[in-house]
């Protein structure tokens, strides 16, 4: 599928786009010795089967049934990324637990460190906007999803300052059009006219917004500032009309895109396309901050070995092993397969970044809303960091934040968010919101 010239020009008129040269070649590497840092987060559904998620001694993640095996699978992904991986065990979504934003709502907490009533931006938005990581790229940040564009709590990991979710793009065609939208054959004068017209509209819209902001009381400022940020993003794309990175092949259009709305047969392909587009956007330096929300894609029949209803018949039936109860290995195996599938997609993203030479400057965070999905528990959520060499993180290891003890409470994810923010040079002492302020402070020893 190619984006029509008319459609592209319509979009460019207001949104801007890139004059990307279509090429079958590899994307030009954006990595230099001082390459800009990138932060990517992937949400994976259904928690984890801890028995198959926890590495074996010697940081063995390739044992039979290991759900982390894709990170040590050179045959499938070109190389092993085991040495890039830091497995964090014992992270709790504590600020959510304090106020009941747990279980299926827990994704609200992953990057915000706040419960459902929090007003702070999620870490990706904080780094992109407040810390300025997204200032120099055409897209301040990129928020993608698969299967759900819902704005409900529990369906988003990216949140604006003020406490509203950042909408997700779930259609690869739309993502492609926004990132690489120039069709073949668009004439230079047409593009220039569209750009000039867009700028003319934008100037007036910005002036109107400025006048409104002057009239509005303080309580409305955060919301209007968000609007101003959106206009700056559009302006950046209007002024950056040239870029050197090759556009990937345009993705096909999918008839249906939503879970429960008929999108199920396409989710595997859509996920791969979203990942590939994200990797290209990052490696082409179209953005330095990106998130991907892999919705609960139950009923997608992604794996022949699993029942159709993964949510009810796999996640809810998981029977964990604990100190007094041996658990049910068959249920571990099923959930482990689902986890393996999700991590396979993350490994694909890592591989794509590596191929484009962008992995060294990237930090990937992967997390879920639950640990034990049968308990809907937001404790011990499976947390992975995949870090490039630009980050002073000691990888290739398993870090048990409970120090091997079966503690009821683990470490608040706020400390991880503080640690990551600091890795990007943001001098924060705390991250998130909670009446239990002790949850918010401190950082993890990742180095």
């Amino acid at each position: 599928m190619r984006v029509s010239r008319r459609r592209f020009l319509a979009a460019l008129g207001v949104t801007g786009a890139f004059l990307a040269r279509e090429s079958n070649g590899r994307a030009e590497s954006a990595t230099t010795p001082n390459a800009p840092l990138r932060f990517i987060t992937v949400y994976t559904p259904h928690g984890r089967a801890h028995e198959l998620w926890q590495p074996r001694p010697g940081f063995d993640i390739a044992f039979e049934d290991s759900s982390l095996a894709p990170f040590d699978d050179a045959k499938t992904y070109g190389k092993s990324f085991r040495d890039r991986l830091l497995v964090l065990d014992g992270i709790d979504l504590s600020a959510g637990i304090e106020v009941g934003t747990t279980g299926h709502d827990g994704s609200r907490v992953i990057l915000t460190g706040s419960g459902g009533d929090g007003k702070n931006a999620s870490l990706d938005q904080f780094l992109a906007i407040e810390h300025g990581l997204g200032n120099d790229t055409p897209h301040t940040s990129l928020t993608l999803g698969v299967g759900s564009d819902s704005t409900d709590v529990g369906q988003n990991i990216s949140w604006s300052r003020g406490g509203t979710p950042v909408p997700k793009w779930i259609d690869p065609s739309r993502v492609y059009a926004e990132l690489f939208g120039a069709p073949l054959g668009a004439r230079k004068e047409e593009l220039e006219h569209a750009r000039r017209a867009g700028k003319s509209v934008l100037d007036r819209v910005r002036a109107d917004l400025g006048r409104l902001a002057q009239r509005a009381p303080r309580s409305q400022r955060t919301k209007l500032e968000q609007h101003a940020t959106a206009l700056r993003d559009i302006e950046k794309r209007l002024t950056h009309v040239e870029q050197s990175c090759a556009a990937p092949p345009a993705p096909p259009a999918f008839e249906r895109l939503k879970a429960y709305g008929g999108g199920e047969p396409y989710f595997d392909a859509i996920t791969d396309l979203q990942i590939d587009l994200m990797a290209r956007a990052v490696s082409c330096d179209l953005t330095r901050v990106a998130t991907l929300y892999l919705a609960d894609l139950t009923r997608s029949k992604l794996l022949a070995e699993l029942p159709e209803d993964v949510h009810q018949e796999v996640a809810h039936r998981y029977d964990a092993r604990d100190e007094v109860h041996g658990g049910t290995p068959e249920t571990w195996h099923k959930l482990g397969l689902q986890n393996h599938y999700s991590y396979g997609k993350v490994a694909r993203l890592v591989a794509r970044l590596d191929e484009a030479g962008a992995l060294d400057s990237s930090l990937l965070l992967t997390s879920s809303d639950m640990g034990d999905p049968a308990r809907h528990s937001s404790r011990q959520v499976p947390t992975l960091l995949l870090a490039g060499s630009a980050f002073p993180i000691k990888t290739g290891r398993y870090l048990d934040l409970r120090h091997g003890k079966n503690l009821q409470e683990g470490v608040p994810n706020n400390r991880l968010l503080v640690s990551i923010a600091r890795l990007f040079g943001a001098p924060v002492e705390r991250f998130g919101e909670s009446k239990a302020s002790h949850l918010l402070h401190g950082e993890l020893a990742l180095t």
Binding site: V166, S200, A230, R299, D309, R375
Partner: protein, 536 residues
């Protein structure tokens, strides 16, 4: 449905206001006074919801603007799409801009064929800017706005662009402007903590979006220009006129569907093994509820009681067959069936169920939250982790959920939640009648305290007797009004809701249950016209 909402008011105590005559006699019936110190809504700039946006775009462009499905969905507050906290994110703005660019091009072509100026001369530029600007901003343009937009057209003319091209650019500038995207409630401004009065144009927009979900029409803009809307009586007269418009029903339909939590029904699924007909039937389920709401709003007293117990179904042949009715139509009798109103409609029952099995918890939770306004604590708030009762091939759903009341921690909430939900067990996960569950007879009996203030335990044997018990409970009418205010005011603030409910309480008892009467009292009050500056 051809009849208007005004028909309701013609049959009510407010008939003296005169839907037909436009007179304002007897307005005192609707006067309710705000208590000194009552909490007001804050001064604010509220971004239009996608529904409001479509209506507003259609008014300006003269074209149907079905862009909501292409925009990121609304961010909701308390489940309602009108939301004063909604912002304009980069992703939203990017998508919206692309859609507007395309719409503006089509609209410019259409306008180019309409009567009026078709050239870029100075007088023509001024006329087009003033006309379209007034439609888009829902007020006359300021001199600066007028001259800036005329300059836009002038620049296009100088560049040799066509009339259509220039008009398209003008439309884009108007429709992307925050003056279009936000409904302002700012008045003349002032220092924090002071009370402000909405200006004339804001009063018109506020009234129109409240009752129709769309922008003010020409008559309302004229009333605003003359200053009439500053007084309660003319506001109510205009409100009655708006309620008489045929499209007003979509606003009230949307409210009830969002209140009932069925507006997303088409995005739900059921087990294809257990409920193979669900996908084909769900559009008819939703259509039934839409038609039923229209019928209740127009002819049924616009009350929660009518919604719960209309005693009829508004169905076509598909749903009539599903329900086992011998007739269909807008008022097909439900006499002799287990169904009474919205709580027994398939849309509600399917939306509040799992994919493969009923959910007494979800159904009970709805009754607690949306009819009794009881806040049910989340398990984590009381230190509990949820463990789903294991699936069973032999136990009924009710038997599976016994664990809820066996565990003292769970029992504190689930004793009531589940008991309410058990009364619905006569309906399966897609709303069909069921008499057995896993080969066991369903048991719909329950002992329930309806609300934390209830002094008596009610012995119920079905959702019909639950409905009857709810109808006797005065809480449901106030709770419904509270939720209505959350939708119509686009925010949830218990203190402001208390002000609204106080207005309602001042109405004669016979009028308090009628949603229109309550909203008219609001329209006539200072709670509608005043705002607190600097609040959030």
């Amino acid at each position: 449905m051809r009849s208007s909402l005004c028909a309701v008011l013609l049959g009510s105590a407010l008939v003296v206001l005169g839907c037909a005559t436009g007179g304002a006699r007897g307005i005192s019936a609707a006067h309710a006074r705000l208590e000194p110190g009552a909490k007001l809504l804050p001064a604010r700039a509220r971004r239009l919801s996608n529904f409001e946006l479509e209506n507003s775009l259609a008014r300006v462009t003269g074209l149907p603007a079905t862009i909501a499905r292409d925009l990121p969905p609304d961010v909701r507050q308390e489940g309602y799409t009108p939301n004063a906290r909604q912002d304009v994110s980069s992703a939203w703005a990017t998508r919206y801009s692309g859609l507007i660019s395309e719409l503006a091009g089509r609209a410019a072509k259409k306008i180019g064929k309409d009567a009026g100026c078709h050239e870029l001369s100075a007088p023509c530029r001024a006329q087009r800017v003033a006309e379209l600007g007034r439609l888009a901003y829902r007020r006359s343009l300021t001199n600066d706005e007028q001259s800036s937009l005329e300059q836009l057209l002038s620049d296009e003319a100088a560049g040799g662009e066509s009339f259509e091209s220039a008009l398209s650019l003008l439309l884009r500038a108007l429709l992307e402007s925050p003056n279009f995207l936000y409904v302002t409630e700012l008045g003349a401004g002032g220092t924090a903590g002071t009370t402000i009065r909405l200006d004339d144009a804001e009063l018109a927009s506020e009234l129109s979006y409240l009752l129709t979900g769309g922008p003010p029409d020409e008559a309302l803009l004229r009333a605003a220009s003359s200053g009439d809307l500053r007084q309660p009586e003319p506001r109510v007269v205009e409100a009655l006129r708006l309620l008489a418009l045929p499209d007003t029903r979509y606003q009230f339909r949307r409210f009830v569907l969002e209140w009932l939590e069925v507006d997303g029904l088409l995005d739900t699924a059921k087990s294809s093994r257990l409920f193979p007909t669900y996908d084909a039937l769900k559009p008819f389920m939703l259509a039934e509820t839409e038609s039923y709401v229209d019928e209740v709003m127009v002819n049924g007293g616009a009350s929660v009681q009518s919604l719960l117990a209309g005693g009829f179904a508004s169905v076509g042949p598909e749903m009539a067959r599903f329900y086992g009715l011998s007739t269909y139509g807008p008022r097909a009798s439900l006499r002799g069936t287990a169904r009474l109103g919205v709580l027994q409609q398939a849309s509600f029952l399917a939306a509040h169920a799992h994919e493969d099995v009923t959910s007494p918890v979800k159904r009970g939770d709805f009754v607690m939250r949306k009819l009794l306004c009881e806040r049910v604590k989340r398990p984590a708030e009381i230190g509990l982790e949820v463990v789903m009762p294991p699936p069973s091939a032999t136990l009924s759903n009710r038997e599976r959920l016994r664990q809820h009341v066996a565990d003292p921690g769970c029992a504190s909430c689930h004793t009531t939640l589940d008991a309410i939900g058990f009364t619905f067990e006569g309906f399966d996960a897609m709303g069909a009648l069921q008499t057995t569950d896993h080969q066991r007879p369903v048991d719909t009996r329950a002992s329930v305290r309806l609300g934390s203030h209830a002094t008596q335990t009610r012995e119920l044997d079905s959702s019909a007797t639950l409905t009857a018990a709810l109808l006797e409970n005065p809480t449901i009418s106030e709770c419904f009004a509270r939720h209505a205010f959350r939708y119509f005011s686009a925010q949830s603030d218990p203190a402001v809701e208390a002000s609204f409910l106080d207005l309602r309480a001042q109405l004669p008892e016979a009028q308090r249950d009628n949603l229109f009467q309550v909203l008219l009292a609001y329209v006539a009050s200072d709670l509608f016209a005043l705002r607190e500056n600097g609040g959030d």
